[in-house]
Symmetry: D2
Subunit: 134 residues, 4 copies
Amino acid sequence: MEAFEIQYRVSYSDTDQMGFMHHSNYLKCYETARWELFRHLGIPYATMEGEGYILPVTEATLRYLRPLKYDRKVVVVTRLKAVSGARITFACQMKGEDGEIFNEAVVKVGCVMKTTGRASLLPEKVRAVLSGLL
Amino acid sequence: MEAFEIQYRVSYSDTDQMGFMHHSNYLKCYETARWELFRHLGIPYATMEGEGYILPVTEATLRYLRPLKYDRKVVVVTRLKAVSGARITFACQMKGEDGEIFNEAVVKVGCVMKTTGRASLLPEKVRAVLSGLL
Amino acid sequence: MEAFEIQYRVSYSDTDQMGFMHHSNYLKCYETARWELFRHLGIPYATMEGEGYILPVTEATLRYLRPLKYDRKVVVVTRLKAVSGARITFACQMKGEDGEIFNEAVVKVGCVMKTTGRASLLPEKVRAVLSGLL
Amino acid sequence: MEAFEIQYRVSYSDTDQMGFMHHSNYLKCYETARWELFRHLGIPYATMEGEGYILPVTEATLRYLRPLKYDRKVVVVTRLKAVSGARITFACQMKGEDGEIFNEAVVKVGCVMKTTGRASLLPEKVRAVLSGLL
């Protein structure tokens, strides 16, 4: 799939005393970006939760290539990499305006029924939309 | 009531690029401290939620008196100030080992039924325990 | 001064297990909003820090009027209330699209020299710009 | 090296609306745990920063095996895996009281001079202490 992009500006509360965006905060940006992708695709995550499905993260791998500083504007890039019955894999990047990569990550989520806490197939509509992109 | 105290050490992720604990993080410490007080009193907050009650914050007033730096050990002091039918008021402090006050706050919470989202009287047991302290 | 407004959408990581935006996260939104106001006024906060001044929060009072849920779009409203030699007071709101108020707050910041940690008059330019708005 | 362990209890602000510890917060626990290990070894991280060195995270890989819920007590386990001239690798776990693993991770940090932002060999003392453990 083509890259889906949102803008992000590093906020003051993102920083730590090194003067860099704290390394835990990248996961928050990637999360926001992937649910914006879902909204863009007509399958809002809030609707999925309303229908009883949650998509907790099962794996994440992050590489911090350059420090990201307060007030810096970046593009958060999300690409769908794989969809199986119950899992979705995303490739993510934080990219500067000149194309430099600050961070790259692979994030996997798994579909779970909220009430039972058990793994579940993705809702048919979600699977259809995502599969159509690959 | 006498002061209830827990120890806290400022973590790296608490700091911002000023080199101080970010001003939003005090509220997290005070929250942890008040539910430790509840546990100490035999009315664990997790149990209250299990029984259908939540205690969201309705008001908070904070005064930041001295900056709190990474790795600093402080005492988080919690005092019960008032209990009414549906509301509880706490007075909170972050205190150094030499008694210097870094932050002081008043935090009010209100009792709400989780399923309906409507205000509720505090569970009888909780009210009895807290009232006994005043 | 007239109200300065930015858009905000509650992210998943803003929520807690009540299903509401955690009460500590409002302070982060208000911080981002006030530095966006400063940027809009031609006195970016990042520049101030570059010139050796920091503006830590000295007081904050928040009233949580309605719970704010995941994915909700709100307007963060910032108004300059007062400027003295070394202090600035902001009045802040989180407002829904129908005008309902979710949260309102007063936040005070004080000017400090980064290297010495001592209180300082606001830089002349900053004081002039802000005073012109009152 | 033998495992170094600290206790942790999931706080309310750690949770998200799934009712689980938000996946970004594990990195904060692992950070706190590794600097507690450093303190235990006589090489406090705060001292390193005071001497001009920072240790930003360069890579992190996390596997979320079971959801961690509010108020749960866990042990954060840290093991030193490798030390090279400028890099340190840690293996981390969040473990329940019955030995069940909630999360496991590998976190790599790199040594950087704070003033220049350039990679640096680890301070001699730090390297000696860490190498002695392997």
